[in-house]
Amino acid sequence: MATLKLNNIKKRFGSTDVIHGVDLDVADGEFIVIVGPSGCGKSTLLRMVAGLETVSSGEISIDGKRVNDLEPMDRDIAMVFQNYALYPHMSVFENISYGLKIAKTPKAEIAERVATAAKMLQLAPYLDRKPRELSGGQRQRVAMGRAIVRKPSVFLFDEPLSNLDAKLRVQMRLEIKALQKELGITSLYVTHDQVEAMTLADRMVVMNGGVADQIGAPLEVYANPATTFVAGFIGSPATNFLPVAALSSPRAGAATIGIRPEHARLVHAGTGQTNGMVKFSEALGAETLVHLVLPAGESFTVRQDGTMPCPQEGEHCGIDWAQDSEIPFGADSRRIEIP
């Protein structure tokens, strides 16, 4: 249990700046998800907190104590790796108890703590197996077990679910969330999957090119994206962007507006805010995604209920939305407030 504070963290590899100053305050027990496309510096940021990368400038503190110059083992953290990083020559029990054994914990206590963790993660029947005899999901659980058994102050997760298949990923996502709530340990979780970010996070950090574009609660970020990048990255299908010039009426101060696919609807050709030609549509059952091409060549996606009539390919439609659902952005791609 601890707070975590990042103060103007920067990272340089040689002469290349990869992280340009990130500030973050994590409250005790909070679940923070860092999300962004590959190469945005999210993993580097996590590895700096873990102590696996040096910090070029800025300060990291755990529970008010500066940890910049501490070795990973002295930071009281535990980390779950993308490839799980299990010790292949050790049994599940030895994997989970490795850290405790090094800390010279009494044998009886090790057995008890491993048993508790194994029960929590449904690993009890597999304690004697080697990692290669386990399925992907079970390996993932062993990695979690190794982290929780040490009762660290901070959990670090580096894309822990990206090696699992889609169904298992959803299941493990729920388990991680439940486990973190139960243990109440401050967590930092890195992912490139915005669904994971939305569902797991108390607050999320959206990273883009080494900068934290926005930090906030998932729904708050979804409703009020701070930049065009955040609007485009969070939410699937992505937000539609239209230059204001393409609209019939001008929007004061805005260069671009964003419209969420679920806020737009199809109307008769010639009516609505703009027009488009249907390129193709994807019927997903509960909903249908209609992809259109606008006269200027931009694509536009409309998400509508699965029961609504769906236009044919090549058909011309009007597209309409309520003006107050628009998200306006200035010329610098930043969100602007329209009075």
């Binding site: 083992m73 490839n83 990083a85 010790y87 020559h89």
Partner: protein
């Protein structure tokens, strides 16, 4: 017809350079030729009987065991140490690697001459410095020093070979496993003992077998150039004794019997090696 034709070159090479001489050795080991090579007398297993009762031959087994044990230990230990250092290098890793691989290109006999010059009791640079320090180096008379010198010379070229395998083995260990151990609280030496070394075990076992075979059979050149098996019999390993008894001592029957025994030793080592490769641990 075609398969046989395609196999033929390999079969011919094996027959001419292995089956024919090996067969001849087995055949000759059953005879004692007269000193002029005009006729030979069939003695059955007499040569073997004589060898196994010969204290010099049995002593040579012990010498071989000590020699190959030391060569394996020194060359693998050095190689592992260098590989650990090279694995941690960030700058100039390629240069170091290339430099460390060079000694492998030096033929054993040439390596032997190099070491002989360095340790020559009269003109050797190293023995001269040792003399300044008050140590009288003389491997021509001192059996321990002679053994030390041939072990050093034989190991030197071998370090490169072992280094390559150890480095590849080290680099095959996922970085994240080491990082996980670091987060779990393991310092460098603990990590090496509990994670790195166990994960290197397939490489280590493979090298162990290969190095023992090397020390047994491929160190002839080194021993021949440096000590010629002396002083007394101190560095006469089995392979050297085959040469010495056969070509110098002209005991062709006894020498042939020795090479038949060696043939069995090779066979035994090969079986161990194959057993191991089949059962090699897969992670």
């Amino acid at each position: 017809m075609l398969p046989i034709l395609l196999l033929l070159p390999q079969i011919v090479i094996t027959a001419v350079f292995f089956f024919y001489p090996a067969g001849q050795a087995v055949w000759q080991s059953l005879f004692i030729p007269d000193p002029f090579g005009l006729k030979s007398q069939f003695v059955g297993l007499g040569n073997f009987e004589y060898l196994l009762g010969d204290p010099y031959y049995r002593a040579s087994f012990v010498t071989t065991a000590i020699f190959s044990g030391l060569v394996t230990l020194v060359s693998m230990g050095m190689a592992l140490y260098l590989a650990l250092l090279a694995d941690r290098l960030i700058k100039g890793a390629g240069t170091y690697r290339t430099l460390l691989i060079w000694p492998y290109a030096v033929a054993p006999a040439v390596a032997g001459v190099l070491w002989l010059f360095m340790f020559n009791t009269r003109v050797g640079v190293v023995s001269w410095y040792l003399g300044l320090l008050g140590y009288d180096w003389n491997h021509v008379l001192n059996e321990g020093e002679a053994m030390g010198l041939v072990v050093a010379a034989s190991s030197w070229g071998r370090v490169s070979y072992n280094f390559l395998f150890f480095l590849a083995g080290l680099q095959a260990i996922p970085r994240s496993v080491i990082e996980a151990a670091a987060i779990d609280g393991a310092h460098f030496w603990t990590r090496f003992r509990t994670i790195v070394f166990p994960l290197l075990s397939p490489t280590t076992f493979f090298l162990l077998v290969v190095n023992v075979v090397y020390a047994f059979f491929e160190t002839f050149g080194v021993i021949h150039t440096i000590t010629s098996g002396g002083p007394q019999q101190a560095t006469t390993i089995l392979v050297y004794k085959v040469y010495k008894d056969g070509f110098v001592g002209q005991d062709l029957g006894g020498s042939a019997a020795q090479s038949v025994i060696l043939l069995f030793v090779v066979g035994l080592l090969t079986i161990v090696q194959f057993k191991f490769i089949e059962r090699r641990v897969h992670y």
